[in-house]
């Protein structure tokens, strides 16, 4: 299946450059592409997408894309004798509002700078900030040291030891892409330590050249767009030699089931993750049917969907349970997918938020059985209709603000989507037929080849590994916890199960007796403090 589907992937990469010319300035080499909206708002939203992200970090220098981006803003820029330091930058932008201070997001394949600028100060903004920031970065060494130290702290304490949910999500992303340029988070310890000022400059000359930039502006007015576009024309020039461009390989296919157990000190609950690489992204004709299927199965942070209903609403195991057909950055904190993280290689994943340690094996079986069952049965016409209706409503949130509209336009440029994602969203949803949904489920989803990541307590982890490998029945909640009356009769427990709760208990039994068939040698325990040291899993 993988081989047959890799062709479209390659093809859309070629199409990319051609389609970008739509809505852009006349094609000329070394020209910045432009996408725009038509907003009359007095504040102009400006984004610059660099077609390079952490997947372009050279091996051993993981964190280079991230630190280069941060250093563009905070590492001083402009005339070296009177540089715009980060302090000066804050000072200049303050009267123009919070949004005038540039921010940046770094994804696998893109780096996106954002700022919101009052229309009437735009010429000054371009001259004082926008142009020098992109064309004359100074990469001051002391700022690099500070940012490096902050990055290491984030990796060592915040991410590894405090963010139980995020560490699981990041680790799943990493293990699914093991051995490829996608395999590391935004930085690794060794990578961040090894990055020099020269490396930043080399990354900058390689990837910040005009032909790799896409400018997004919330207005089409040429008077606004032209100075921004022209300001970027001088980007990416410096005396240092460029880097060798890192090739981006597709993730390896998952064979069978395997588990990575991340052992955290003092984890009070266990988080469960599972996934496998998908061979499609937004450009594929199966994207929309699969999107509708996933809305039904596991919409993020929504009580509408099946997983949420089964695990949280009916059984009260945790705060929520979701599935995804695209990478979704910052899941623990975002209600809707943030824009700015497009990827050519996507993956399917399931996220069971932390549950009591005792129920981890039961729910691992449950999520696997449910995925298998979902693939086997598909959706009924009625379920498809409900899911399509829900998908339509989601549009209102995805397209809510000018920032989001512009963010999707930039992603369209990345994917080469014409018409754009949001522009065609409602039509695409309406056009989906239920048989397409079921065909897409059968073609792209499966439960036989899965990578699991389980984040748990370091004392629980070895027992959990044994319990998974043991292939024994694993029970979840006791019927008494579902408010089912229990009587003691002759030393025996008698459950008075109302008809309405029978199905629930029957399903519990099915889950409990499902065989995961994962031998102990396919279960690895990784101490959290050894994660993210290098791109490879310890």
């Amino acid at each position: 299946m993988r081989e047959s589907n890799s062709a479209p992937v390659v093809r859309w990469l070629l199409v990319l450059s051609a389609t970008l010319a739509v809505g852009a300035a006349p094609a000329r080499t070394q020209q910045v592409s432009v996408v725009s909206l038509d907003s009359p708002a007095p504040l102009v939203t400006v984004r610059v997408m660099v077609r390079a992200g952490s997947a372009h970090d050279p091996e051993g220098l993981e964190g280079l894309a991230y630190l280069t981006a941060r250093m563009l803003i905070e590492g001083s820029f402009g005339d070296p004798r009177a540089p715009v330091t980060k302090e000066r930058l804050a000072e200049i932008t303050r009267p123009w509002g919070q949004g005038a201070m540039p921010t940046v997001q770094v994804g696998k394949e893109t780096t996106t700078f954002s700022m919101t600028v009052p229309r009437e100060v735009l010429p000054r903004y371009v001259a004082q900030i926008f142009r020098p920031m992109f064309t004359q970065p100074l990469f001051e060494a002391r700022e690099l040291d500070r940012l490096r130290a902050e990055t290491l702290t984030t990796l060592r304490s915040n991410l590894r030891l405090e963010q139980i949910e995020l560490v699981g999500l990041v680790t799943l992303d990493n293990v699914l892409h093991a051995g490829t340029s996608y395999a590391h988070p935004v930085a690794t310890e060794r990578g961040a330590e090894a990055i020099t000022r020269e490396a930043l400059q080399r990354f900058y000359v390689t990837y910040y050249r005009p032909e790799h930039l896409v400018l997004g502006v919330s207005t089409r007015e040429e008077a606004v767009v032209a100075p921004l576009r022209e300001a970027l024309a001088g980007a990416g020039t410096s005396a240092v030699p460029p880097l060798e461009r890192r090739p981006l390989e597709p993730p390896p296919a998952v064979q069978g089931r395997e588990v990575v157990l991340v052992a955290l000190p003092n984890a009070i609950a266990t988080g469960l993750h599972a996934g496998f690489p998908l061979t499609i992204n937004r450009r594929h004709p199966d994207y929309w049917p699969l999107y509708v299927a996933n809305v039904w199965f596991g919409t993020h942070r929504d009580s509408f969907s099946y997983l949420y209903d089964q695990f949280r609403a009916l059984r009260g195991y945790n705060y929520g349970d979701y599935s995804y057909i695209e990478h979704f950055e910052n899941r623990p904190f975002a209600l809707f997918p943030p824009t700015g993280y497009p990827r050519r290689y996507q993956y399917f994943s399931i996220w069971i938020r932390p549950v009591q340690h005792d129920y981890a094996v039961h729910l691992l079986k449950a999520l696997t059985w449910e995925l298998e069952h979902f693939v086997r049965t598909g959706l009924s016409e009625e379920q498809c209709a409900l899911a399509k209706n829900k998908a339509r409503v989601l549009y209102l949130s995805l397209a809510e603000t000018t920032e989001r509209l512009l963010g999707y336009r930039l992603e369209d440029a990345f994917y080469g989507l014409v018409p754009g994602y949001l522009e065609s969203y409602l039509e695409q949803i309406d056009a989906v037929r239920c048989e397409q949904v079921n065909a897409a489920i059968r073609r792209h989803l499966q439960a036989a080849n899965l990578k699991y990541v389980i984040v748990t307590d370091d004392e629980v982890a070895p027992k959990l590994a044994e319990a998974i490998a043991a292939n024994q029945p694993a029970r979840g909640k006791d019927p008494a916890e579902y408010q089912i009356e229990v009587r003691e009769e002759n030393g025996q427990k008698l459950y008075l199960v109302p008809e309405a709760k029978r199905a629930l208990l029957e399903r519990d039994a099915v889950w409990a007796h499902y065989w995961l068939d994962i031998p102990r040698d396919r279960i690895r325990i990784v101490p959290a403090e050894r994660l993210f040291v290098t791109a490879a899993l310890p």
């Binding site: 909206l37 038509d38 907003s39 009359p40 708002a41 007095p42 504040l43 941060r70 905070e74 980060k86 302090e87 000066r88 930058l89 804050a90 000072e91 200049i92 303050r94 009267p95 123009w96 509002g97 919070q98 949004g99 005038a100 201070m101 921010t103 940046v104 997001q105 919101t116 009052p118 009437e120 100060v121 000054r124 902050e150 009580s303 509408f304 099946y306 949420y308 209903d309 949280r312 609403a313 904190f333 975002a334 209600l335 379920q383 409900l386 209706n389 829900k390 339509r392 409503v393 209102l396 949130s397 397209a399 809510e400 603000t401 000018t402 920032e403 409602l426």
Partner: protein, 520 residues
């Protein structure tokens, strides 16, 4: 298959939820203050900026602000606002934002909140009513309204605050009108539930139970306890003396208050006491024509005024609250504030108070958070919404302290933080004597204007912010008047405001700390 509606979702307006659910605060209160950007050390940057700000402002800022000022356009808000008042007194305001294609933000503002709960023993009814409105029996069917909304496809939510209750469904413009008898449009559904609410005593009792659950859940937040004490101490003479959620005893007794609830609805859910604010991909004239037939039969009725029953306290009050969970110690310094009046100097100064006192660039914030490191968070507990109210309400400076330092120093630690906060507030009385006062004030005005505009990023945000301010004088030009009043401020206005408002008799100081076995 579908889980029942989550009560959590419907009470976003209730501030404790908003705080606990990052990202969920969209519908909470007017989204005017832009949330801090999460991606990096913004606080640190801003700190340095401000330290420099004090030094550099003389040389740099005047040039900047001269530019900003001269460039300020006459009319700031970019969208056109249209107003029509129906014969029954219902105000309909339409804000055309055509760039958001096919989006319809259809909001109903009811000018009644917990301030209107004037009878003893009947607190919490406004919030309970917010729940009941979602249980409306459309076509006499149980859950008829919710099911019809679900078929139509809409995000539907609401919030309750002291003066108002705000209902804010969001859908597609194409869903305004129905497709058939079985598929009514949003217009029909909204008009029906507000003007002909159909609910039973059974529904009432169920929702009263849900509200009790909500109270219990929120009771674990120390800030609820502090809020209850604060309002009781500051407003013994006014219905602002209880929170939006109501007194616990009243919430317990709520299932027995069906008759009082019906009376609340009959009194306050009247067209002359409500405002429709519609924003999105719509045309004003077309909307007025469509809306009128649906709402014209809604009968108006004079709304009784809310009167104070005594006078406010005349001395400073202090209280310590022991708490039975090991939470971070808290200090609240609160001042009674003047009522909101768009265009007034007091209200304009109030708009800048967050920047003057608790932004990362404010001297008080810098001193506590960075220089002395005696607090790890400092802010306004209710934002500016705490005092943007019909009657005088409150500004709450809330500081979260360090457990370890409190364990070491106890009351002396509290005393130090309180003294520093009072000194920081006191400094505003001399604001005009700062060498950079004029320049700094101009910078703050400029930042205020642009942050205000930046918050207008979607039809729903625009409609909500508009409704929040429109209610005071019912003037469609309210945004321009508010912004203009801030533009007019002089440094001496800040001094005078601070001298009048920040006096001991307006003040309540609360502290809260863990104490094993305490009974909160």
């Amino acid at each position: 298959m579908k889980a029942p509606r989550q009560p959590v979702a419907r009470i976003r307006g209730w501030k404790y939820n908003a705080k606990k659910a990052p990202g969920a605060g969209k519908g909470v209160r007017p989204p005017r203050q832009k949330p801090a950007r999460p991606d990096r050390g913004g606080a640190r940057l801003a700190l340095v900026a401000m330290v420099l700000g004090a030094v550099l402002a003389i040389g740099v800022a005047p040039a900047l602000l001269a530019q900003a000022k001269s460039a300020a356009p006459k009319k700031v808000f970019p969208y056109s606002i249209h107003k029509r008042t129906l014969a029954n007194g219902l105000d309909v305001v339409v804000i055309e934002t055509p760039e958001f294609k096919n989006v319809l933000s259809f909001n109903t503002l009811v000018l009644a909140g917990s301030r209107n709960e004037v009878e003893p023993g009947k607190s919490g009814l406004a919030h309970l009513f917010e729940h009941i409105l979602f249980r409306h029996r459309w076509k006499s069917q149980e859950n008829g309204y919710e099911e019809a909304i679900s078929r139509l496809g809409a995000h539907n939510n609401a919030w309750t605050w002291f003066d108002v209750t705000f209902y804010h469904p969001l859908t597609f413009t194409a869903n305004l009108e129905g497709r058939s008898e079985d598929l009514p449009g949003l217009l029909a559904l909204e008009a029906d539930r507000f003007s002909r609410l159909d609910f039973t005593e059974k529904i009432f009792r169920t929702e009263a139970g849900a509200v009790l659950g909500e109270y219990r859940r929120n009771a674990s937040f120390p800030s609820l306890k502090l809020e209850e004490r604060l309002t009781a101490l500051l407003f013994p003479h006014h219905p602002y003396g209880h929170t939006t959620l109501g007194y616990y005893e009243d919430v317990l007794d709520m299932p027995n208050e069906y008759a009082a609830a019906v009376a609340f609805y009959e009194t306050y859910y009247r067209p002359n006491n409500c405002v429709l604010v519609i924003a999105g991909d719509v045309r004003a004239e077309e909307m007025f024509a469509k809306i009128e037939p649906y709402y014209r039969d809604w009968q108006p009725k004079p709304v009784p005024p809310i009167l104070a029953t005594g006078s406010p306290p005349k001395t400073e009050q202090r209280e310590h609250v022991p708490w039975n969970a090991d939470v971070a110690p808290l200090v609240w310094v609160a001042y009674r504030m003047p009522a909101h009046k768009t265009g007034s100097v007091e209200t304009a100064v109030g708009q800048l108070l967050p920047e003057l006192l608790v932004s990362p660039a404010a001297p008080l914030y810098r001193k506590l958070r960075f220089e002395k490191q005696t607090v790890n968070a400092l802010g306004f507990e209710e934002g500016t919404q705490g005092y943007e109210s019909f009657d005088p309400r409150v500004l709450i400076l809330s500081a979260q302290l360090y457990k370890e330092k409190y364990a070491e120093r106890g009351q002396a630690y509290f005393d130090e933080v309180i003294a520093d906060i009072l000194a920081g507030v006191e400094e505003l009385k001399q604001f005009s004597r700062r060498k950079d006062a004029r320049a700094l004030l101009e910078t703050l005005k400029s930042k205020y204007r642009y942050d205000f505009l930046a918050a207008m990023s979607s039809p729903a945000n625009i409609a909500q912010t508009f409704a929040w301010y429109y209610r005071f004088e019912r003037d469609p030009e309210v945004f321009e008047k508010l912004l203009a009043s801030v533009e007019r401020l002089t440094p001496r206005d800040i001094d005078q405001f601070a001298r009048r408002q920040f006096v001991p008799e307006h003040r309540v100081v609360l502290t809260l700390a863990y104490e094993a076995g305490a009974r909160p």
